[in-house]
Point group: C2
């Protein structure tokens, strides 16, 4: 997987890393959409790939399949394992490489604007779209991230962020640029991460806030042999999770980006003087997405109607818009979707809702679709979630709209509880807890307890699934009219 | 000076920082060559600027002059000092800024290829040429250097490298990009540097090897409160100077670039395993210029006739050639000079002579004009200088060609001795010292003792001046025929 990030573009082809956690039907849809000639399949994903291919209609020719065999599979002798290769694969990766011409001259892109990579969005809010990036955009993103995260040369990088997620925010290429060591994992839990950190002297890793939560909520926490830099993004990290993770010796950096930007383009640039503040205040500041990185030209929060910047008051909601070198070329075969978000002068409309603080740091309040409109008030589900995450019994929380005949929508909270609890809170306990900390209209009217919240393959909570569940519950009770007062 | 690096390009104009150590005649020539509309003059350079302007012919209109007053000049009350402004200045910098429109919209360059800066070469080998760089080239150079030197955010940077020297290798912009603190100095000696490091907690500084020599040879050496990163380039640093500097707690990085590349584009990328080697071996490795930075496309050493790469044997001499994003647009008003060095496919011929080692690290052996050709053998003056720098009594050394009737040229060494010596070596002592360490044909036939060697404003030894002195001495004696054996 790592080698392919280089070999495919150097051969003049376009790279597309498919999320191996998707179901066969979706993989099949993506393959028919982007029409690859060659599909490299890891041993662990054999059945997924073969099933996806079997769903091709007879008039569509599938890609040639190349099997990537794990070193460990070969332990019993390469001949015997080679003989087990399914005949639907044309060859193994190793045999393909062996047959290669060592004097092959890399094929240069026709222009720096030529595409290098196609990445499908993870689809938190809609069906996957194929994001196409140019060589130039990816180069800029790669160097930008190295500077912004202050990565020194020869880091030891643990791949807790999947490479199929926007090429690991472009760190696949970034690690090579500075002579990094890549510690690759197929699957991991907190115990694996702690032991790999110790074994390899890991210095850097990335992950969605769910990874921070996993590391800091685990019973298997081990002392870190050295401070480990961890870069998080993908969802606003709850302040409580930030505090807990940092107390373990992780140094958390926080940024913001989208598949459409190739990596993180807004960064919570940390000021040294903030280290003197109390932990909760530090966490509050660090939960903000921040300021543009130097690879970006502009980042702003604008009124979607007028296109003008919102007030820098930390409360006026607007849409986050970005302009700069690493914004995608567009969506593959989808000019409508492209035109909808790519506006004049190179502005990219993210669909994310945020505020601008007085110091110029932006903070996401919600995805557009995640805003709850209750009695005409726009209500940020993320703010409610922050409060829930501070509750000592709550492991994960997500708030979505539940239809309400009177208010239009009311906030409905889905939560999972920590494992080691002696006493579990009730729905009313949690509602009371929120009442003490939030304006009444923001307090969840419903609390649903779940063993685990549904997630995308990249660890983001699937709000659309929760939204469906909330809808299926029917309108919330009329008592909500009173609780609004 | 620092503010102007930003204000001038943002106003849509092109920046040109003039070397304040030049003489009035040269400054006048440069001004008439680049025809600025506005000239900002620091208080300390008033007489230089006014004299340069006075040398303008009547038909050439000089630029408007703006006086930059030092904060310290204003200590006695700004009114009184303002009244002393020479009437040839149109205003002071502060009054110009005060009259400015705070709502002024920065003027965007028409294209990323539009020029941002003009820098005259320091002229070690020829008359100054005006190097023009684009916005795009400078941006790439700036981020490239931050990554290559691994500069973390919020560094404290001491300006021992003048800003007029290729905009401090583009670190004027680089420091702003990462929130650095700039500690500016007009003049400095070892004592000033050591006290500024302590006072401001300096973490980073740059300088030619002459600065390293100054810091490590000074009687005023003070222990460093923290390790200080020092980036050196501009001339091959003698291994002895590198060893001495590092033993004091400076962490020396070494790179290579030219005014024509906007900063350092070849870097002696340090491998962690080299730290285990003995100090002399470490210094030998670090004295090599290294490998291309990630902002460059290619860097090579080629046979100037065939254009083909030389053998990677560490001894075959060739010309250093570069290709990549930060190579200049060209020389101002000098298409001949531009065409001479800018070749097909974007290759820039540096005029520097080097070798390629087997590990792909390049090493400069000489400027083309500094190669001494003795009896048909190309002889690298830098190699002879490395030996001289190891002599315990020698402070600085430079070797140039002296005409010889029989051999064509012979090596002639100019040296300055350390101050605190009880016994000074003789010419014969030094020649004997070199005989023990060099092939006979490389041993200097002449050694000239100087109080100080002539230098350019950026601290490079002016070999052309020494070459003139060597020529003026007349042909070396015939005894050299025998010593060649």
């Amino acid at each position: 997987m790592y080698e392919i990030q280089f070999g495919v573009p150097m051969s003049g082809a376009i790279l597309n890393c498919i999320n191996t956690r998707l179901d066969a039907r979706t993989v099949s849809v993506l393959l028919r959409h982007c029409e690859p000639k060659l599909l490299f399949v890891d041993t662990l994903s054999q059945s997924l790939a073969l099933e996806a291919i079997s769903l091709f209609p007879p008039n569509k020719s599938p890609p040639l399949l190349v099997l990537i065999q794990d070193d460990q599979d070969d332990a019993g002798g390469s001949n015997s394992s080679l003989s087990t290769v399914d005949s639907r694969f044309c060859c193994t990766y190793e045999s393909l490489v062996e047959k290669g011409n060592p004097n092959f001259k890399w094929i240069r892109p026709k222009s720096e604007w030529s595409p290098i990579v196609l990445n499908y969005t993870s689809g938190t809010t809609s069906s996957p779209k194929g994001v196409v990036h140019s060589h130039r955009g990816i180069f800029t993103m790669t160097v930008d991230s190295l500077i912004d995260w202050e990565v020194p040369k020869q880091p030891v990088y643990l791949w807790t962020l999947p490479m199929f997620h926007a090429n690991g925010w472009s760190f696949t290429w970034g690690m090579a640029a500075i002579g990094g060591t890549n510690v690759c994992v197929r699957k991991f839990d907190a115990s694996t991460v702690y032991s790999l950190i110790k074994k390899h002297g890991v210095t850097h890793m990335c992950g969605a806030p769910v990874v921070l939560n996993m590391l800091s909520n685990s019973p298997e926490i081990k002392p870190l042999p050295n401070p480990v830099q961890i870069l998080t993004a993908g969802a606003p990290p709850p302040a409580a999770v930030l505090s807990r993770t940092e107390s373990l010796g992780f140094v958390v950096s926080h940024g913001y980006g989208l598949t459409e930007t190739g990596g993180l383009v807004v960064s919570c640039a940390w000021k040294r003087e903030w280290n003197k503040l109390p932990a909760t205040e530090r966490a509050r500041l660090k939960a903000r997405q921040g300021v543009r990185t130097i690879g970006m030209t502009e980042a702003d929060v604008v009124d979607p109607e007028s296109g003008l910047s919102v007030k820098r008051d930390g409360s006026t909601l607007g849409e986050i818009v970005l302009r700069g070198a690493s914004v995608m070329l567009g969506y593959l075969k989808d000019p409508n979707a492209t035109n909808k978000c790519m506006k004049e002068n190179g502005w990219f409309y993210t669909g994310d809702v945020g505020v601008m603080h007085s110091d110029g740091y932006m903070e996401i309040k919600d995805r557009s679709k995640d805003v709850i409109i209750s009695g005409g008030e726009n209500l940020s589900s993320v703010e409610v979630e922050s409060v829930l995450y501070n509750h000592p019994a709550i492991n994960e929380a997500a708030v979505v709209a539940r239809p309400d005949e009177y208010w239009g929508e009311t906030p409905c909270a889905f939560v999972s509880l920590k494992n080691e609890l002696t006493q579990k809170p009730s729905e009313q306990d949690i509602i009371q807890y929120c009442r003490a900390k939030l304006p009444h209209y923001m307090v969840p009217k419903t609390v649903v307890f779940k063993e685990e919240l549904p997630k995308t393959s990249t660890g983001k909570i699937q709000k659309f699934a929760l939204r469906d569940m909330a809808k299926a519950m029917g309108p919330s009770s009329s008592s909500s009219r009173l609780s609004r007062m």
